[in-house]
Symmetry: C2
Subunit: 339 residues, 2 copies
């Protein structure tokens, strides 16, 4: 491949969304005079009396958490989606709206307040994966639910309001924008090529190798060619699967292993508990055929150069397109050296 | 219109981008236990020796700013786009990239370090508007430039690295994602209806009135029906214009008046110098016909409930779709009361 992409401004195509990212490799040396983030690296206790996610404590709505010992799931006390609200449509000229029902859940990864995925054991992460499977299956089986979004906001900088290790699951009656774009792009490709977009993409990445960080028997961790966030990565099953339900017991362990590897690498990068939002994109739970889906988990970490300097997705990024300074290849090499 | 949209979770369609926003009106009362932003409300001097944007001072690259007295434009010392880089294409299977040339400029709105658009006079804002016109024209006339993005990042929370009143202009050889979506949506509508999408939208808004904050003879300020950010607003010319070049002298004054009104209102909302990213979407500068374009300026402010609590666009928003708590109608009423 031409070396130009390490030196000159260019845009790269995201095959999964059909959108572009602007890359400015030459800009990495820009001095930073703007806002610095706080580093919150205090040691946390294993149990915090004031934490509404710890076992046995009382939540905002008065409910008391059970004395859970591994993973604990409950319905979000301030859910963004309602289950039993009226169904309605606004169709007045150019004003278009539509009710959206759904179920939002919180999933505590561990009773231990001091943990994060990065310092949980692989068997313990595996319990989280099994819970994700179970939730995807149960929620997806509800008539009303056509799509299940599993995600985690980690760190105060990512809007996470409680450091207790936890993620969320928002399930809803239609496909949100990002899932819908990926659905379209993967379907178009599959119809023409009879293989999934990501299988063919992985083939190319395995030949080139420069963006691969880690692999085990079932999964690969890489920085996608079109990564937006400075240290964005993706965990992809080597063989196409529509959803996390297709994983065998051996494979959920290998997935847990991959999660363990990447979160540990992240923590080593700037020597802090590394903030990110992560999420799993997988087949919708509607009745259509999903052979074109190849599920994957992405990590979008906001930090750019250090524990305190983040990448701001602001002005140009909001009005134009995402923009990045360091190249995905440089990021991949940096992360790979920390495995 | 049904009152349901003030009470129940629903999604609204953005006619300009073709995407959806999830609205959760019932969620506005969620308590906040997460990160608080710092309020930087110190008085700034009119001239700051250490500011690289103040008149007469030296910039990072050693250049000395002139003793400018109103608006001052220069090429960004750390431009994300390069003008004279090689042209190249990566077309290797699923790896698709393309060089992107461009010119990035910085525009100081005033020599007075202590100012912001909110406390500049309308004639002084008018000088900024005239400069935008001039830059759009000059940059757009370059062979290489097909699109000009004018924007401002205001406040440290918006990644702005210097409080000196300034904005930026990034011009480039292809349309970025957001402009491209708006181009498509407006073109489709115009081809069918022979009027611009925003003219017909404004007609509806003028009938309903509940989202309009302010109007003068040429412009209206409103919270769009599909607003993503809690207090997002839009300044739209009442009669369709493709670009800011079509404004008469009288109209640039009226546009300056609208900018003055909305920025003052914003400062009053939480009693701080209000952070936001703003940007102008207008016709590309390529050779195609642009009759379908109706330019507009949008403000995307990050704050949600107070000077210190912002809306985080994280997990669900990154993987699903944008999500908001307070309704656009509630936001419009709040802002209108501050005019
Ligand atoms: O150019 P600046 O002000 O240094 O940088 C700021 O605006 C740019 C354009 O929106 C962004 O790419 C940067 O992340 C942000 O920090
Ligand atoms: O639900 P939480 O953790 O209180 O809230 C966090 O995650 C949500 C889902 O990404 C976002 O909508 C909120 O802005 C963010 O603060």
């Amino acid at each position: 491949m031409t070396n130009n992409i390490q030196d000159y401004s260019h845009k790269r195509f995201n095959i999964l969304t059909g959108e572009w990212v602007l890359v400015s490799p030459h800009r990495a040396k820009r001095p930073w005079q703007g806002q610095n983030e706080e580093v919150a690296n205090e040691q946390r206790p294993s149990h915090d009396e004031s934490c509404y996610l710890c076992a046995g404590n009382t939540r905002a709505n008065g409910e008391i958490n059970p004395d859970y010992t591994d993973v604990f799931v409950f319905t979000n006390d301030f859910a963004a989606l309602q289950k039993d609200s009226e169904t309605f449509t606004v169709n007045e000229g150019l004003l278009q709206a539509q009710s959206e029902q759904g179920v939002c859940k919180v999933i505590c990864f561990s009773p231990d307040h001091s943990k994060s995925l990065a310092n949980m054991s692989v068997p313990d992460i595996n319990k989280v994966v099994k819970t994700w499977q179970n939730e995807y299956k149960t929620l997806g089986a509800m008539d009303m639910i056509k799509y299940v979004q599993i995600f985690e906001n980690k760190g105060a900088i990512m809007g996470c309001s409680n450091p207790h290790p936890h993620g969320q699951i928002w399930s809803q009656s239609t496909l949100p924008n990002e899932a819908s774009k990926k659905d379209t792009q993967q379907l178009t490709y599959y119809n023409t090529n009879k293989s999934t977009l990501l299988s063919d993409y992985l083939k190319q990445e395995f030949e080139i190798k420069e963006r691969i960080i880690y692999e085990n028997d079932a999964f690969v961790i890489l920085v996608p060619f079109w990564a937006i966030w400075p240290f964005e990565t993706m965990i992809v099953p080597k063989i196409a699967q529509e959803s996390i339900l297709e994983m065998t017991d051996k494979e959920t362990e290998l997935f847990a292993d991959a999660i363990s590897v990447i979160t540990k690498v992240y923590d080593k990068l700037f020597n802090i508990s590394f903030p990110y939002s992560s999420g799993i994109h997988q087949a919708p739970t509607n009745d259509t055929d999903h052979s074109h889906w190849h599920w994957h988990m992405s990590f979008y970490p906001p930090l750019l150069r250090s524990a305190t300097v983040k990448k701001f997705m602001v002005g140009y990024e909001m009005f134009g397109s995402p923009q990045r300074d360091i190249t995905p290849e440089w990021a991949a090499t940096t992360l790979k050296n920390l495995v």
